[in-house]
Amino acid sequence: MSVLIYADSNNGSLTKNALEAASYGAQVAQAKGGNAVAVVVGTANNIEQLGNYGVTKVLHVSDTTLDKFDPQKIAHVMATAAKQEGSETIIFAHDYSGKSIAPRLSAKLDAGLVTGAIALPNGNIIKKAVFSGKAFAEVEVNTSTQIISVLPNSVDKVETGGTAEVVALALELPSTGIKVKETKKESTELSLTEADIVVSAGRGLKGPENWGMVEDLAKELGAATACSRPVADIGWRPHHEHVGQTGIAIRPNLYFAIGISGAIQHLAGVNGSKVIVVINTDAEAPFFKAADYGIVGDAFEVVPKLLAAIKELKA
């Protein structure tokens, strides 16, 4: 019995989320005594590296029409591969791609889906975050085939040093009524959900002209930048930086909250972060209750000093 994994790529390279999904799938396969088989679609380089995360076989559908993202076609590929490999467990990353494909596949195969898993399954029971990170639920899958999507940054990647055999998979793709005309990406930007470190700032920074120090700190740390909702709403920062209950949910290793009060809706999207640092002038700001480290102080004084100290550490 094999475990099937969808390994997504971006501009020809496998994503970090894809490697996490592969490692998760390989660990499930090992627990069940089966093989981990990954599926890669479209143009993608260096896909053998999946072997290093426990995958033994990679099915590559190299048809370049798949370079334009079409979840309907990819769900068809996954269903075909699952049948060919006899897979009863299918793994995705719970990211922009996984959220588009996994539900389609679930309906196609009439298989139970658990999205946003934060731990390896215990038999048919999978743990996930619910209520926007304010609680956890253990969900049982009642169907013989189970589909799981893994929340980014929540399961450690295990490097096995193994190798994977790459096998071409040729199949006819269904015609669908959808066409990606263009993808606009600011590719220099580190993606928020994949980042290990996130530097986030709120209304306490007073205006968009003051974000230079936030960007400098992020750059020095190799971090992504984020913001609170009002900051995106007033247009100080782009919408895709808005984190929280009604924005993006993230769980980096390290989250800096600068001039953010820590409203319950903001915390909901970031409280899965492993370490939280809060910098706020108000000692009573609710964010300190969710923090691991805190500085009560003015961001305009603290952040430049922090940047200097980190530069010194890195030097």
């Binding site: 619910v130 209950q245 969710a290 500085i295 922090l306």
Partner: protein, 246 residues
């Protein structure tokens, strides 16, 4: 154009999260329920804007029991023409999707709008399942939507950017920030909502593909370690040596 907006009942964003019955059920005691924000702010309002621009109708649909009616009335007050409630418990996304897809297909809806996820179970599942069951395209995490004739022009959020998409109707869309600006119902809307039709229909036969076994709360943070604002170097030392985060 016939537009169907799927709405879900969700606890208010400030609701206390607690569980009963041996941690198997969400404790609804004292909890205020709202229309799931993504469904209301983006899916419903964009549906109304498209109707206002191109003509047609907006139906809101919710799968749920009678306690869902207040949030359905709210959607009617914001401007939907009529409403349907499929009278069933909602314990599994695939079950719910089967109900919606069946209704949408039988009644010839061309545009099905959902929110990107609910703020309670955070599944991000139903819309994609509905699309597959209807055998039509699905675009998740849509931040802009326009329709001309039988073609939809869409912007969708992806990692660090946007995708520009063209798709044929019928289509299912999951809506996220950017698609519309929230509307507040006015007195006239609230009065009108009382007499707009809300049809209750029986569910079709389907089983639950998943079931929640139990809930738990995350361990509370053990407490914040404070560093003096004049000693920022100490924070860097702690992050490096103790937390090993930088």
């Amino acid at each position: 154009m016939k537009i169907l907006v799927c709405i879900s009942k969700a606890p208010d964003t400030t609701a206390k999260i607690a569980f009963t019955d041996g941690d198997t059920k969400f404790d609804e005691n004292g909890v205020q329920f709202i229309v799931n924000p993504y469904d209301e702010w983006y899916a419903l309002v964009r549906g109304l804007e498209l109707k206002e621009a191109n003509g047609g109708s907006v139906t809101v649909l919710s799968v749920g029991r009678v306690d869902t009616d207040p949030i359905i009335r709210k959607a009617l007050a914001i401007g939907a023409d009529d409403a349907v409630r499929i009278d069933a418990d909602t314990n599994d996304a695939l079950y719910v999707a089967k109900q919606i897809a069946n209704y949408a297909k039988e009644n010839g809806y061309e545009l099905v709008l959902c929110g990107k996820e609910t703020i309670d179970y955070n599944g991000s599942q139903v819309a994609g399942m509905v699309a597959e069951l209807m055998e039509v395209p699905y675009v998740s995490l849509t931040s802009k939507l326009d329709v001309a004739g039988s073609t939809a022009t869409i912007e969708r959020d992806v990692e660090g950017g946007v995708e520009l998409i063209e798709a044929n109707l019928p289509i299912v869309i999951s809506s996220s920030k950017g698609m519309a600006e929230a509307r507040i119902p006015n007195m006239r809307g609230i009065m009108a909502a009382r007499s707009k039709p809300l049809t209750v229909v029986a569910p079709i036969e389907a089983s639950n593909a998943t079931s929640v076994k139990n809930f738990s709360l995350p361990a509370a943070k053990t407490g914040c370690k404070y560093v003096d604002a004049d000693n920022v170097q100490e924070l860097v030392n702690l992050l490096h040596n103790e937390a090993k985060a930088i």
